[in-house]
């Protein structure tokens, strides 16, 4: 019953070195503010907090142990001892998890990109459903978010959407949303009542600040809709679409959703910056021969991570194998979605811990 859940020697020595690192960085940070240091601190802080709790609980336990033979307090101490041991066990698990190397940028805010995959206009419709799902989910979570770019084809189908989520660690939270999402349902236009399968691809990127990654404006070309003629007071144009091309990489972002060119340009630039930063990061990673993270950029049907099955009112994640029967609530952005997201997180965690 009084089994000791102490962390391994290797772990405790790792923890003490983190403690001294934290002190050093804090001092440096107080003298000299920098985003880099702030990020490092934010990364270590949760571990230090948990470790302090862990050490306090350990002290508590050894005090309680010495009381178990006390004629008056013995029973009381035994009861508390079992609570504290439980707590220590929990803390130990949490610390073990925190010590697992996190994906880079775990603490960043993020951008979610959504594009239709296989399935024509049904896929475009599903992509806009996912857009609405994430927008409402963030609103329900009270996380600030804005839709940077959404572009549509001539029949009104969504081609692409980008939501910026201004919540610290939202990258960590949403990173496993990346992949192919599959929908099974009867399209409104289907006369024979057959179920169609279509897909949408989701990519999740960490938000990068301008200090961390700047674009050389000379490498950009802006295309805007320009009426011929004298312009100015003579016409009152409402056309505001902007296309930004990054010439060296031929990366193109189009934004037509806002009412002024100025706004569309700012949003397109933000998306471009995030994408180029990710590209840059992946290139560096490849160079250092590290494994490439497997964000899905393709819209291949076989890479599906999750299925939204309308006839069965069911949503299944294929990594955690968790199914929920609250499809409409999830699609409306209800907080039920977090059950799925978190199930994936623990499934992947367990896979890591083996």
């Amino acid at each position: 019953m009084f089994r000791n859940y102490a962390l391994t020697k290797a772990m405790t020595s790792k923890l003490s070195s983190l403690e001294s690192e934290y002190k050093t960085i804090s001092n440096e940070f107080n003298d000299n503010y920098s985003i880099d240091l702030e990020k490092k601190l934010a990364r270590i802080r949760p571990i230090i907090t948990k470790y302090n709790e862990y050490k306090n609980t350990e002290t508590e336990i050894s005090e309680l142990k010495s009381l178990t033979l006390d004629p008056e307090l013995g029973n009381e101490a035994k009861k508390e001892l079992s609570d504290s041991s439980e707590n220590l066990k929990k803390l130990e698990q949490e610390i073990k998890y925190l010590l697992i190397p996190k994906s880079e940028n775990y603490e960043s805010s993020c951008m979610i990109e959504i594009r239709p995959g296989i399935g024509g206009s049904e896929a475009q419709l599903f992509a806009s459903d996912l857009l609405k799902m994430y927008q409402n989910f963030c609103s329900n979570k009270k996380w600030a978010h804005e839709t940077l770019v959404s572009s549509y084809n001539t029949t009104g189908g969504l081609i692409e959407a980008n939501i910026l989520i201004k919540e610290p660690s939202s990258f960590g939270y949403f990173q496993h949303e990346a992949g192919v999402h599959r929908v099974q349902r009867i399209p409104a236009t289907e006369v024979k009542g057959r179920v169609h399968t279509s897909t949408a691809a989701v990519v999740v990127l960490p938000e990068i600040s301008e200090e961390e990654f700047t674009i050389d404006m000379r490498e950009l070309r802006f295309d805007v809709m320009r009426a011929s003629g004298s312009g100015g007071q003579h016409v009152n144009t409402t056309e505001s679409a902007v296309r930004v091309v990054h010439l060296p990489t031929n990366t193109i972002v189009t934004c037509q959703d806002e009412r002024s060119q100025h706004q569309n340009k700012a949003r397109a630039l933000k998306v471009l910056q995030t994408r180029l930063a990710e590209r840059d990061r992946l290139e560096k990673q490849l160079k250092t021969q590290q494994a490439r993270t497997s964000q899905v950029n393709t819209t291949d049907r076989s890479d599906r991570i999750r299925t939204y099955n309308y006839p069965q009112n069911r949503i299944t994640d294929h990594r955690s194998n968790v199914s929920l029967h609250h499809l409409s609530e999830v699609m409306e952005g209800g907080l039920k979605l977090s059950e799925i997201i978190e199930s994936v997180d623990s499934a992947l965690k367990n896979a890591y811990q083996g």
């Binding site: 549509y152 001539t154 320009r226 312009g231 100015g232 007071q233 409402t238 056309e239 679409a241 100025h262």
Partner: protein
Amino acid sequence: MSRLAKLTAALGAQQAQAELRWMLRELKAEAVDDAVKLRSQGYPLQYILGTQPFGGLDIICKPGALIPRWETEEWCLKLSKSLNPLENNKVLDMCTGTGCVLFLLLHELHNMNKSNRASIKTNSIFTGIGIDNSDAALDVSRQNLNQLPALEPLRSRIELLNHDIHKPLPASALSSTVVTANPPYIYSLNEADSSVSEHEPRNALLHQPRIYEDLVHRTLETSATKAVFEVGYLNQIDTCVDIFHKHKWRAWGEKDSNDNWRTVWAEK
């Protein structure tokens, strides 16, 4: 006909979809039908939705005042970047209409000032004065001044006056350091889109004899060292540049990003 079909007939598919989306986003559901009807008859979108984004501001638009143009926004943002937010600027905007030029310049100065750490020490003051000879236009600029949340910190430093720019300036304008104007410059309303000539105020569009000459003379009455006027034609640039040169100012014309001659810039 569906709403989209009506709009498509008037605007083309792409623009019809964009505008219907904005209407659905910004108007009450029951107002959309009327909005579509008006819009497909050529009524300006900004009077229907009630605003036009201009830099970081959502300028209130009403039929009494000209709708802000992207060309104006473009030079206005360029001018704001050329000003020193740590100096005591006083902006005089002649022919202010909605007030968009004046408000955006001060808004940008305010933002630059806030994000500049040195300003804590200098605590610079910038103020603005907008003049127009149309009460209808002044109504709209006053609404903007009183209602735009972004202007809240600037409200007490901005003055709006009814004044004819063909006459000498009111005393409070003489200490201005920067002068701007987007005066009416169209020679004949036939040259404008019908949506413009039918729905925007004539006195905001139609050129008046000697208007550019008088704008330059008004500028010279002040202590300003910098001025930008919007133009519709190259000869209007020449008119201004000639007078500025006579008074030993540097002056030149600039094109907008659509390759049309758009502004005259002058510096003392």
